[in-house]
Amino acid sequence: MARDPKHDILFEPIKIGPKTMKNRFYQVPHCNGFGSEKPFSQAFFRAGKAEGGFGGVATEYCSISPESDDTHRMSARLWDDDDIKNLSLMCDMLHEYDCLAAAELWYGGPHAPCMESRCVARAPSQIPSDFEYLTYAIEADKDDIRYLQQLYVDAAKRARTAGFDIVYVYGSHSYLPQQFLTPFYNKRTDEYGGSFENRARFWRETIEKVKEAVGDDTAIAVRMSTDMFLGEPGTQLKRDCLPFVELVDHLVDVWDINLSGIAEWGEDATPSRFYEQGRALPWQAAVKEISKKPVLGVGRWTNPDAMSDAIHEGKLDIIATCRPSTSDPFLPKKIEEGRLDDIRECIGCNVCISRWEIGGPPLICTQNATAGEEYRRAWHPEKFTTAKNADNDVLVVGAGPAGMECAMVLGKRGMRRVHLVESADDMGGTMRWIPQLPGLGEWARLVNYRKIQLDKLKNVEFIPSTTLAPEDVAGYGAEIVVVATGSYWATDGLNGASHDVIPGADASLAWQATPDQLMGEGKTLAGDSVLVFDNDGYFMGVSISEKLALEGKKVTLMTPLGHVAPYMHFTLEAPNMHRRLHSLGVEIVPYHLPSRLEKGGVVATHVYDEHGAERTWDVDGVVLVSQRRSNERLFRSLKDDIGLEALKAEGVDALYRIGDCEAPRLIADAVFSGHRLAREIDSPDPSVPLPFRRERRVIDPDFVASERAWHESAMAGTA
């Protein structure tokens, strides 16, 4: 298959200062949880994109000083020469693919709480962060300013030594240089505050100094947020950014243009729930109009036609992606080879970002189970070894996310025959109706991609509209049986707060329902008002509330937690979700747990009320989003009623279960579960995951001796 000529422009090289990037595909700085302290995970993660055809790949935000320490969140670090060594692996591996490496030099100011280093940051003015409200910074004087600028210079030199082709003076998302530029953060009255020239001074001087230090052979990138949506005092496109572009354009080799501050950076890393791809294009185009240098920008780009259009229309020079490059590192190669239906498109769920926001865990991806596993499990998204036990037939019962993924990978690993059997008339499981919740349409890409891939696999057959009883499974003729029957929402109010059912909760009654019933079975609740009881913690409660409110119901959303849908804070969906619920008149009632349900009313108590005082909400209907339960029946029948011995006698050598039917989990984890089993189907005991490689320091006696010697001398002041 050949590349569509429409997309040729995406493969034209482009000069970035002293460097040349081989095409227009660039992975803009983004977090992955690996930093400098997991150098192999870091390097293999980034190199995977280079192998997939990206012309440039950046680190995540890369701290230039212990004063810029974002622990618990993971950043890269270039504090000393050992950090150089660790990050140089990433550069070397990128260069193997003729891919440019970029380091996003970062100083967080008051947004970085320095919980590991115990240093204190410096900032233009002393106001606590709008992101980390307990953190104060030192109000910088002139000496501090020189010191800060020197940090950038030193870090840039280290970056160049490590092998980076591009270094950033990074301001976006309200980091140091942009704090000086923005009145919201900069209340100074000296020559570094007030007028535009003054506010721009710090950033301009820093760029000049970095350019002077490394600009001969290293490209200088500036990442700027062109609108913080903070009103008058926030960064404004016309007042602050376009003049800044004009001011320093001659110094900059490439502009990285995005949006938003730090507190609501979901306006930049836009969830598909609220924004289409290419959201920032008008701002990027505005910069492109006045700059003489290349402009790149993100926009959750997944459509190659839209990418080409953006460049042809003169709005961008380089298509930058983070999330789409994680859901499919081989995006550029697939476009080049004209294999557009093989592209695993980002669904914009932001589960990847949620891991960084939580602080600590490596990123994961709902669409791409290999994201983050490139090194530690040696999983390649496009390469699959033939299973050692490929000469077997497999039955996968249930074509939800876990079943589809498992069948697909088993097919790619060459199993003799794989039958994916589903009782509904099509694939998807709950992912057939979840994308029908308001705003979640792009999530259907999870199913669409797998449908296409499964259809291409000659050794995989999809059999719909077929419900298998345990005897049918036993007698199916498969040597390996994988049960992937998913989960259902509890119909009795069982929940993690009370660890009990709710008296009166019964979704078989006409005035109560679970999400499955409303969305998957078309059940409707009569009446004008409904109470949604939500102890799930993620999106189901709020999405159902939104849907019912859009249908005209008066919705009360009750949760025993202090916040509804707390996980959506991590996916950056919370602010807009709350705006939406608020505009729809949804009444949120936190800290309340129903004590019983009666027709026409929910009786609940405040969780911190020591007297257990009850209050009644009069509602026509109730939706129970209390918790999920595994659909265990089939697996239990096979294992307990028929038994593994009897199964063996019928030719079933192995029985596994994956996904929600084992334990309910995130969609990303269900997909991972199916993927892992298939990758390890030929291991000695596939039911137990193989150990993954851990990047840790394992001490040996020599090392213990040398460390103890150092410690002694440090104590004595002689180190």
Binding site: N303, D305, D393, L395, D472, G477
Partner: protein, 248 residues
């Protein structure tokens, strides 16, 4: 009741099309093979009749050795015996009908079912020609079948949804339309068992060709549509404008 079902293993092309040296057909290395969709409905219909009335189902195909995979799919569904006829030129439905006629005659069936057409040739001719060669009554494009005593009632689906209810004397040849039933799946056990069944192979006696491919080629693509872009709002506006203009 013995039902003979005539099936075809059909080809689908990928994006790359290569032709044979003589330019009369596509290169078989670039095709995917599958049981013709219409024939799975025909086989299912035969199996349902067998479940109701007893007897056996025999599947027959004209094709090279790889077409046995299609026969085995029908065996896995529940057919009892399979016959493959080789030495038949492709693309000539009348020639295929001649080859099938020999086997069908020998089987002395109570009913012969074919698919209305094959997805790769769409001639919709083989079943009708076969009926003539074995001198049996025929009904084409059947969407419902109720066999009775010496006769059957068949629904024939005309263009536009109108249904022609026909009474036909049995034995007869019927060509079966998609949607008449829900073809059953075959589980792995049945597929494995079908692998073991011995398939009778017969040579076709030669027959006159009713047509011959002189040249096969990729047709030149038309001008193509004027594309309206990728923004749904813009596309919707253009559509609304077009509708307004063209119905003024």
């Amino acid at each position: 009741m013995r039902t003979v079902v005539c099936i075809k293993q059909v080809r689908t092309l990928g994006d790359e099309v290569e032709f044979t040296d003589d330019g009369r057909d596509v290169d078989p290395d670039y095709v995917d093979l599958a049981l013709n969709e219409w024939d799975s409905f025909a086989t299912e219909e035969a199996l349902q009749l067998k479940e109701r009335l007893g007897g056996e189902v025999v599947v027959v195909t004209c094709g090279p050795e790889e077409s046995e995979a299609a026969l085995r799919r029908c065996l896995a569904m529940g057919a009892d015996r399979a016959v493959r006829i080789e030495g038949v030129a492709a693309h000539d439905p009348i020639g295929v009908a001649h080859a099938l006629a020999e086997v069908v005659r020998d089987e002395e069936p109570d009913l012969v079912l074919c698919g209305v057409q094959s997805s790769d040739s769409v001639q919709a001719a083989t079943g009708t020609a076969l009926a003539e060669l074995v001198e049996l009554p025929r009904v084409a494009v059947v969407t419902r079948l109720e066999p009775g005593d010496g006769k059957a009632t068949a629904h024939r689906e005309l263009e536009g949804g109108l249904v022609d209810v026909v009474e036909v004397d049995l034995p007869a040849v019927l060509t079966i339309q998609t949607g008449i039933n829900q073809p059953r799946y075959a589980n792995l056990r049945a597929i494995k068992q079908a692998e073991q069944v011995e398939i009778t192979v017969r040579q076709a006696a030669s027959a006159p060709a009713a047509s011959r491919v002189r040249r096969m080629f990729v047709p030149p693509r038309g001008e193509g549509a004027e594309m309206l872009g990728t923004d749904p709002g813009e596309v919707a506006r253009r559509i609304a404008d077009l509708v307004k203009e063209r119905t003024a």
